[in-house]
Symmetry: C2
């Protein structure tokens, strides 16, 4: 197997952190998205949609999309479980993970891509008004997450799951790219959770 990854990109980091939690060490090839390498013919032969990460299997097939790669790794190495042990738990963890994807990760990514000058190479045209609205949505999502984390230790409930990885990678990206830090905005529960997650060895993977 081989993982196609990119430096300082939040989706590759999700896969790296997930693999690290599993103790999986997968050979990596870095794709330089800031210079457009993902749009090269050689990479498009792997992923025609020109996105990173991608996982090339030993039979030559290429599995793309962050969460689909995690589903594969969960099957390959079931312990520790990060996505649910039966269909009911799988569904509730997927709910939590998707809430983090759709309401936190996506607004962070949109805000960064539409406002940060360095990301103009990834998002054209950048629409500043849209970026500002998305930044406001990040704050709304974190306000809601703060209520959740006042009641329970992890995003999906009582234990660490893929939903914590999605939320953590979103917030780490937000810190660097849109200067959003939960603690400074008054979201103490999110900040305390973030600081706990940052102590896990996996938090350094893909960073």
């Amino acid at each position: 197997m081989k993982l196609y990854m990119s430096a300082r990109a939040p989706n590759p980091r999700r896969v790296a952190m997930f693999a690290a939690e599993k103790g999986l060490q997968i050979p990596e090839q870095m794709i330089d998205i800031m210079s457009g390498e993902q749009r090269s013919d050689s990479y498009r032969a792997k992923n025609p949609l020109a996105r990173v990460p991608a996982l090339e299997l030993d039979d030559g097939r290429v599995l793309c999309e962050t969460r689909a790669i995690c589903t594969y790794l969960e099957g390959l190495q079931p312990e520790p479980n990060l996505m649910g042990t039966d269909f009911e738990e799988r569904a509730f963890i997927e709910m939590a993970d998707r809430r983090m994807e759709l309401h936190l990760f996506a607004p962070v990514a949109n805000a960064a891509r539409h406002t940060h000058p360095a990301l103009a190479v990834l998002e054209s045209p950048q629409i500043a008004e849209f970026g500002a609205v998305q930044s406001a949505r990040v704050r709304e999502a974190v306000a809601w997450l703060d209520e959740v984390l006042a009641r329970q230790p992890y995003v999906a409930g009582g234990r660490f799951t893929i939903a914590d990885i999605t939320a953590f990678c979103a917030l780490e990206f937000a810190k660097g790219l849109i200067r959003f830090r939960p603690g400074q905005e008054g979201f103490a529960h999110v900040q305390a959770w973030r600081d706990r997650i940052a102590e896990r060895p996996s938090a350094k993977a893909g960073n």
Copy 2:
């Protein structure tokens, strides 16, 4: 169980079509999103994020997020299988489904929400420039899907899966809200696939 649904909304339709393929008949309660009922206190007690659909279980817990609800229904009624029979197939179907979600469904929804006057109640502010860019991305996604469907009969490969439901509901929404029809734009493979899917009894569910 009870499903909270909304008329003419693409995400509830995905769940309705998925349940219909399974032969599941679940009592429904309609939420009028055009009048803002999803933001009522009584509905927020079910889903604090004020989104439809949601599935209330018999023990009172509420499962939200379209694809998570499908994961639950797949576990409840495994046949016909729509999401993969082992982890490898589950991962590849999830890849296809997410590509349809991220590259087709999301741009359709964004284009509609940011340009259609009737949807101003759901998206504020509407940003016309963003809507126009998203419409262009719909076309790019359908162009890519047309190449895929030239090689294989269904979105994820040789058989009907959840990825067909996601793509079909996206395109049906696009037809009504942003006046996009694959056949008129020169995408004959997508149009032929769409017409085959439309003949399935499940295609009428949630419409």
